[in-house]
C-alpha cells in the first residue's frame, strides 16, 4: 500500500527542497541549534513535562499539592471499583506468603527470588504472563561487566544523566547489583550477544562513559522475559500464576500492614480476596494513559494501576511528574504508530521537515528539546502533515542518508527499520518517514528504598511503576536493569519479611473508605473509577451507541 496519492504529492515538496539542503549538508552546514535560553523557551512552552497547562496540583492523598499531568492527577483522585461495605474479607479465596502483582520482568524476577527463599508465591497479572513492557525492549541492558568499567562509572553516568535528581541509594543498589543480575540471567540460560570466547559484547549508548550496554539480538527484553517466564513455569510447585486477573485494590490489616489485594477475574467479572503476608507491586508503566493524547510505545496494559492502588493506601510517589517522550515515533503507517525510530536516523544526517519540506529545527537537539520543537511545528506553526487516520506527522528525510553516505547505507545501518517499513510498501531509502513524538517511559512512580520497601509494612514495589532511580531522566538500558535488580531485591526482601514471622490481624478496606471521604471533602466531583485496567479505543460513534454503559453512567452520577 505505501503512501496515499495525497501524501505522495506532499513528498514532492520534500524532494523539491532536497537538492539545496543536500548541498548545505555536504558543506557541513545545518539548521542552527538553539541557544540554552531558546531551549528553555521551547521546552517551557511545548514540552509536555514543562507546560503549565495540562498540569495541576493533586487535591487528595499523600502527595496533595504536587503538580501532576491532568491525566495522572485525575487518575489518582479516583474512586475504587469496589464498594468496600459490600466486600466480605473474612473468607479469603487465596492465601499465600507473597502476592506479586504484575507479570513482567520485575514481577517474575521477584517470584523466582521469593521461591528461592522457600516461600509460597501467587503472581497475578492483567494479561498473559509476559504481556508487558519488558517484552518490548530492544536495545539492551546496562551492567558494568567489562574491565574498563565499574559500578563507580555506572553510578556516575546514571546520576549525571538524571540531572542529579536521582535517589542515591537506588542508584548505588543498581550499580552494585547489575553484574550480578547479568550473571543470574546467564545461568538461567539467556542467550546474550557474545564473542566466541564468551566475552559479552558491550556497547556505548547516549550518556555512557564506558561500554556498558549488553544485549540479545535486537530483542533483549523479549529474551529476558521468555527465559524468566519459562523458569517460573518450572516452579509450579511454589509459584501459582493467575492470568487475566489484575489486582484492583490493596487490603491492609488493622495494624496498617499490607495483607494482600482484591483480584478481579476480567473474564468472569468475579472478585477474589487474596490474603498475603507480603505484597509486591510490579505493574509497570503508564504509557496507555496517553498523556495529552500522545501515542505510546507501551503494551496494552500500561495503565498505572499499581501507583493508583498504593496511592489510595497512603503511599506517596517520587518524580511522578516526569515522563520520557521520544521525539521520533512512527506517525504513519497506522500499523506502526507510536513505535520507535532510533536517533541513529538523525545521527546519519536525515533532516526533520514540515509539510512544505522546510527545516525548522536542528535534528540532534537533546531528546526533550527535539520533541518540543516537533510539537511546536504541529500545534503553533500549524505546518504538520495530517495523516489519513488523523494524526500529526513531520517528515524525517531518510533518503538523504544514502545520498550522503552512499547507496545501501540505510539498508545496512537500519535493517530492522527498513524491513518494518518495506512490509507496508515504503522504501525509507527512497521515501521520507512521517514521525511525531511518542510517550515512552514513566520516569517516576511509587516511592521505595533500596530494599524495595514502601512506607507500608509488608508492601514492596519494583520496576517501572516505582520512582527515584532515574530521577527526571532515564538512560537507555537502565530500566531493564532496574527490573532485574529491584525485582530480585523485592522478592528476597519480601521473603525475608515473611520468614521473620508475620501475623496478620483483621483485614480491612478502611483506607479506601477514608480516601473516598477525602475526595468528597476536597470537592472532587465525579471522580473516575480506577484502576482502569485497559484503555478504550472505541470510536465516539460506537461509544454513543453503547446505551447500557451510558445509562449506567447516568445512574452512577
Amino acid at each position: 500500500m505505501g503512501y496515499t496519492p495525497e501524501m505522495k504529492e506532499l513528498i514532492k515538496r520534500v524532494e523539491a527542497t532536497r537538492p539545496a539542503r543536500m548541498e548545505k549538508a555536504r558543506r557541513g552546514e545545518n539548521f542552527p541549534a538553539l541557544s540554552l535560553e531558546e531551549r528553555a523557551v521551547v521546552l517551557e512552552k511545548f514540552h509536555p513535562d514543562y507546560q503549565k497547562e495540562g498540569r495541576r496540583p493533586i487535591r487528595t492523598g499523600p502527595d496533595k499539592g504536587l503538580v501532576l499531568p491532568e491525566e495522572i492527577a485525575s487518575m489518582l483522585e479516583s474512586r475504587s471499583m469496589l464498594r468496600p461495605e459490600n466486600v466480605d474479607l473474612s473468607n479469603p479465596d487465596f492465601e499465600t506468603d507473597v502476592l506479586i502483582v504484575g507479570g513482567g520482568g520485575a514481577g517474575t524476577s521477584a517470584a523466582l527470588l521469593a521461591a528461592d527463599a522457600g516461600v509460597r508465591v501467587i503472581m497475578t497479572t492483567k494479561l498473559r504472563h509476559g504481556d508487558a513492557n519488558t517484552m518490548m525492549a530492544e536495545g539492551g541492558i546496562q551492567a558494568a561487566v567489562q574491565e574498563s568499567d565499574s559500578p563507580y562509572y555506572h553510578y556516575m553516568d546514571t546520576i549525571g544523566g538524571g540531572h542529579f535528581t536521582n535517589q542515591s541509594d537506588l542508584v548505588a543498589a543498581l550499580a552494585h547489583d547489575a553484574p550480578l543480575s547479568i550473571a543470574w540471567l546467564e545461568s538461567l540460560g539467556m542467550m546474550f550477544n557474545k564473542f566466541p570466547d564468551g566475552r559479552l559484547i558491550s556497547r556505548h549508548f547516549g550518556g555512557s562513559s564506558r561500554k556498558r550496554m549488553n544485549s540479545a539480538g535486537d530483542m533483549t527484553g523479549a529474551e529476558i522475559m521468555r527465559v524468566l517466564r519459562d523458569e517460573a513455569r518450572n516452579r509450579g510447585d511454589q509459584i501459582t500464576i493467575l492470568e487475566f486477573c489484575p489486582a484492583v485494590e490493596l487490603i491492609l490489616d488493622e495494624d496498617g500492614k499490607c495483607a494482600g489485594a482484591i483480584l478481579y477475574n476480567m473474564e468472569t467479572r468475579e472478585f477474589f480476596i487474596a490474603k498475603a503476608k507480603a505484597t509486591i507491586i510490579a505493574t509497570g508503566g503508564n504509557g496507555r494513559l496517553h498523556i495529552k493524547g500522545f501515542a505510546c510505545t507501551n503494551h496494552y496494559g500500561a495503565t498505572m494501576d499499581g501507583v493508583v492502588m498504593c496511592y489510595r493506601a497512603g503511599v506517596g510517589s517520587t518524580c511522578l511528574f516526569s515522563t520520557q517522550y521520544h521525539p521520533t515515533g512512527v506517525a504513519y503507517p497506522e500499523q506502526n504508530v507510536g513505535l520507535l525510530i532510533t536517533e541513529k536516523v538523525r545521527g546519519l544526517g536525515a533532516h526533520v521537515l514540515n509539510i512544505d519540506g522546510e527545516q525548522f529545527c536542528f535534528p540532534l537537539e537533546p531528546r526533550d528539546v527535539e520533541s518540543a520543537e516537533l510539537i511546536k511545528e504541529a500545534l503553533e506553526v500549524g505546518k504538520a502533515v495530517i495523516t489519513p487516520t488523523g494524526r500529526y506527522g513531520l517528515w524525517l528525510d531518510s533518503p538523504m542518508i544514502d545520498l550522503l553516505h552512499g547507496e545501501g547505507t540505510v539498508r545496512r545501518e537500519l535493517p530492522a527499520k527498513f524491513i518494518q517499513f518495506e512490509r507496508h510498501g515504503i522504501d525509507i531509502s527512497k521515501e521520507p518517514m512521517l514521525v511525531y513524538p511518542t510517550l515512552h517511559y514513566q520516569n517516576g512512580g511509587i516511592a521505595i528504598n533500596a530494599d524495595c520497601e514502601t512506607t507500608i509494612p509488608g508492601l514492596y514495589s519494583a520496576g517501572e511503576c516505582t520512582g527515584g532511580l532515574h530521577g527526571e531522566n532515564r538512560l537507555m538500558g537502565n530500566s531493564l536493569q532496574d527490573v532485574i535488580t529491584f525485582g530480585r531485591r523485592s522478592g528476597a526482601a519480601a521473603a525475608r519479611y515473611v520468614n521473620g514471622g508475620v501475623e496478620l490481624k483483621k483485614l480491612t478496606l478502611d483506607h479506601v473508605v477514608k480516601y473516598e471521604k477525602e475526595l468528597v471533602e476536597a470537592g472532587v466531583e465525579n471522580p473516575m473509577v480506577a484502576p482502569i485496567l485497559l484503555p478504550d479505543y472505541s470510536t465516539d460513534e460506537v461509544a454513543s451507541r453503547r446505551l447500557l454503559e451510558i445509562q449506567g453512567k447516568l445512574e452512577a452520577e
Binding site: L127, G130, D131, A132, M135, M136, V145, Q146, E147, S148, S150, P151, Y152, Y153, Y155, G160, F164, V171, A172, L180, I182, A183, E186, L188, G189, M191, K194, G198, R199, H204, S208, S209, R210, G217, A222, R226, V227, E231, R233, N234, F244, R288, G293, F294, T297, H299, Y300, P333, E334, Q335, L339, P388, T389, G390, R391, Y392, L534, Y537, S538, T539
Partner: protein
Amino acid sequence: MSHHHDSKEPKQKKKVQVATGDRAILPEGATTIPVYIMGKRYEVPETLTIMKAMEYAGFKFLRGAGCRGGICGACPTVYRKPGDYKLHFGLACQTVVEPDMYLAQIPFYPANRAAYKIEDLEPNPEIIFSLYPELFRCVACNNCTKACPMGVDVLGYISALKQGDIARAAEISFDCIQCGMCASRCMGELPQYHIAQLARRMYGRAIMPRARHLAKRVEEIESGKYDEMLKSLQTMSHGELEKRYKEREREPDMAPNGTWLPANDPYL
C-alpha cells in the same frame, strides 16, 4: 475536500478531529472496506491493522492484544481471502486489513510443556528426547513454518533437534515469540515453541561459553570491593559529583571490548 456546502444540507460547524492515543479517526472521504470478523461483516477503514480495525468496529480486546508491537505473540490471527483456498497467518497488530478477508484470532492454543530443573540439565539431546518424545512424531509436513508469523524456520529447528543439534536449533528459533500458531497446525501434535525454549536455555547456559570477565566482576562485587566507593558517592555533594561527572574519561568508540584500560584509574 470542498468548502462549498449544498444549501439543502443543514449547516454544521466542522470540528477538526485529530487522532489521540491509539484511537483512529476516519477522515472525511476515507475509504472503508468490508471485513468478516469471525464470519460477521464490518465496514472498517482501509490501512488499519486487523487489531485497530477490530477496535474501530467496536471490539474491546481482553484476550488477543498484548504488546501491540509484534513481539509478544498475543494476537495470532488466521484469515482467508476471497477466491483463495489458502489459509494465511499473521499478527493482528502487524497485518493490514484487506477487502473481504475472513478472519479469526487464535489467542490461545493448548500445548504440552514439560517441567524441568535447569541446574540438572546437561546440554544433551537425549534429555530433550525424553522430555519431549513427541519430537519424533514430526512428519516434516512444514505446516508449522507456513503458519509462523515471524518467518521462523520451524521445521528447520525441529529437524536440527531431531539430529541432536541444540546450538543450531537455538539459533534458528531465536525470533520465536511463542504465539502457538505452529502448534495449532502440527500434524504430529508437537509443542514446537516449548521445545525450542528448552533448547535455547540449554544453549545459553551450557553450550555458549560463559563470560569469564563477568564471573570475575561478580567475585569482586561479592568481596565488597566497591562498597566503600558506592557509599561515598551517595553522600557526595552535588558540586563534587558534577565535577567528577564532567571529568569522566570516555572509552574510545573503536576500542574492542576488553582491550582499553585507562591509566591509574582508582575507580575500576
